[in-house]
């Protein structure tokens, strides 16, 4: 029972990692860029949600859309201001990534200036129910987190498989040249990709804020690294890999806290990632086909 409880808790935690990892993987898919300000987009989503809820009141139903919209706008602005112009100059392939590191630092500093460097509470009003099923304990916050993250993943899956724009997004990720010959305007698809990736991160910001009851301007660093690791674990550029990768890291983390010690939670999670990557260097769902752009 203890193990099952921990797996449930791990899935809750991991589903937020998955949302962040999906964002990394979507952006990597279309641009072959590791977007290192993505963790800060997540953090800004959480802070915007907090401010909106403090100003206007309302619960999760207000916080989540606010975070999604704010993060989507921020993500698109980051692309237009800090990624696209640098890619257009065709300099070193690492230059756009370095640029996103800079953006991340700026966002951290701005958030610290505006909200202080301390952790702040995250009072998203929600009636808290606790259910006891046998020996298992499930809270209403956990149910919301799981429903929102799994719902968004399902929505994304339907979008990329059933709609023409979603297919165009996958086509752009597979080959920009072929996409152009099909009349797909990749510049618009890239902007849409940043918007979707960033909105998911913003929602994850609210979910993480709810589950830990606090947020800070530096929360994006840790979560960013976990999301990046989840993407690598699942396989670069693979959306389903990112989903699974996030869940695996969440479960491993919670189990290591339960059976080892809470001070090793991150170390153990990364130990597992390194072990998996030694056996499957391209990640769980990684394929060799994705190397060429």
């Amino acid at each position: 029972m203890l193990l099952l409880q921990q797996i449930i808790n791990g899935v809750m935690l991991g589903s937020s990692y998955s949302l962040i990892a999906i964002g990394y993987t979507l952006v990597f898919g279309v641009l072959h860029l590791i977007h290192l300000a993505h963790g800060e987009v997540f953090m800004v989503g959480a802070f915007v949600a907090l401010q909106v809820v403090l100003l206007m009141g309302g619960g999760v139903g207000v916080a989540i859309p606010a975070a999604a919209v704010a993060s989507a706008v921020l993500g698109v602005l980051i692309y237009l201001a800090a990624v696209k112009p640098i890619m257009a100059r065709k300099g070193h392939f690492l230059a756009p990534m370095i640029s996103t590191i800079g953006v991340g630092l700026v966002l951290q500093e701005l958030a610290t200036r505006m909200f202080g460097g301390e952790q702040v509470g995250f009072p998203v009003q929600m009636e808290s129910h606790v259910w006891h099923l046998g020996g298992l304990t499930i809270t209403s916050v956990q149910v919301v987190i799981l429903a929102v993250s799994l719902g968004l993943m399902l929505a994304l899956h339907l979008f990329v498989t059933l709609t023409r724009v979603g297919m165009a997004m996958r086509a752009t990720a597979e080959s920009m040249v072929i996409s152009h010959t099909l009349g797909i305007r990749s510049d618009r698809i890239i902007i849409l990709t940043f918007a979707i990736a960033s909105a998911l991160a913003g929602v994850a910001g609210v979910l993480v804020g709810m589950s830990f009851n606090s947020i800070s301007p530096y929360m994006g660093v840790d979560m960013g690294i976990k999301g990046l690791a989840a993407m690598l674990l699942g396989g670069l550029g693979n959306v389903y890999g990112a989903m699974i990768g996030g869940l695996v890291i969440g479960i491993v983390e919670v189990i290591s806290v339960g059976y080892l010690s809470s001070s090793y939670r991150d170390a153990f999670a990364f130990f597992v990632i390194i072990a998996v990557l030694l056996f499957r260097p391209r990640g769980i769902f990684g394929s060799t086909a994705h190397v060429e752009g």
């Binding site: 996409s179 152009h180 010959t181």
Partner: protein, 234 residues
């Protein structure tokens, strides 16, 4: 002339791949472009399609200048390019590839009807509909990319080495399809080929390109002494 290319120069960095090339294609024609490996055939097609920048010269389609327009915009004007080497979207299913062929169209019913027509024309694709395109054989993938290009209802179809790397029987199939498209559906086609024999037999007119320059042109190059010696091995 539906396509009019004048004095086109295209290069990669400091290397000039196409120099002062002029070609014309009239509505309803098959025009072949032949020449040795590296002569600039593919480069010329890519420049027309907007995938490579034109450094000098003009390209007009239907009387409108299209040089150095983004490739997606050129395509939307009615030029479909089938890239060389099985340019399917390999991670996507056969059906998804066909659907994306109609990406620029909004008449959803007519697109579905066109997909159905393509499946009737290439029955093997119907059997493979849910498979990833990357799992198809080379010939099947080539049929898929031609079908995908046709679903966009182009006014000019450009084919880059459609026979490359295919077995002789499949090559014959592909050329038969090209011939039928033109004779039955009046499709205007610009064909780049190394298989000079077939390409000349199929075409109404042809150009020979060597070292980035058009060196010969005409309706009856198959009987030209230089072409016979250099390209047909007769």
């Amino acid at each position: 002339m539906i396509l009019d290319v004048r004095d086109l120069r295209v290069g990669y960095g400091k290397i000039t791949a196409v120099a002062q090339a002029s070609i014309e294609v009239a509505e309803g024609e098959i025009v072949s472009l032949i020449g040795p490996n590296g002569a600039g055939k593919s480069t010329l097609l890519k420049a027309i399609a907007g995938l490579l920048p034109a450094q000098a010269g003009t390209i007009s389609f239907d009387g409108e200048p299209i040089s150095n327009r983004p490739a997606a915009e050129v395509m939307r004007r009615g030029i479909a390019l089938v890239l060389e080497g099985r340019s399917t979207l390999k991670h996507m299913t056969v059906h998804e590839n066909l659907v994306l062929g109609g990406y620029t169209r909004t008449d959803h019913k007519a697109i579905a009807a066109d997909i159905e027509r393509m499946l009737a024309r290439f029955p093997i694709l119907r059997q493979r509909l849910k498979q990833r395109a990357g799992t198809l054989s080379g010939g099947e993938q080539q049929m898929l990319v031609i079908a995908r290009a046709l679903i966009s209802r182009p006014r000019l179809l450009m084919l880059d080495e459609p026979s490359l790397g295919l077995a002789p029987l499949i090559v014959a199939d592909i050329f038969k399809i090209v011939h039928e498209l033109n004779s039955e559906e009046k499709m205007t086609i610009l064909l780049v080929e190394q298989n000079a024999n077939q390409a000349l037999r199929l075409a109404h007119r042809a150009y020979v390109i060597e070292n980035g320059e058009i060196v010969l042109q005409g309706p009856d190059l198959a009987n030209d002494a230089r072409v016979r010696e250099a390209y047909l091995g007769i």
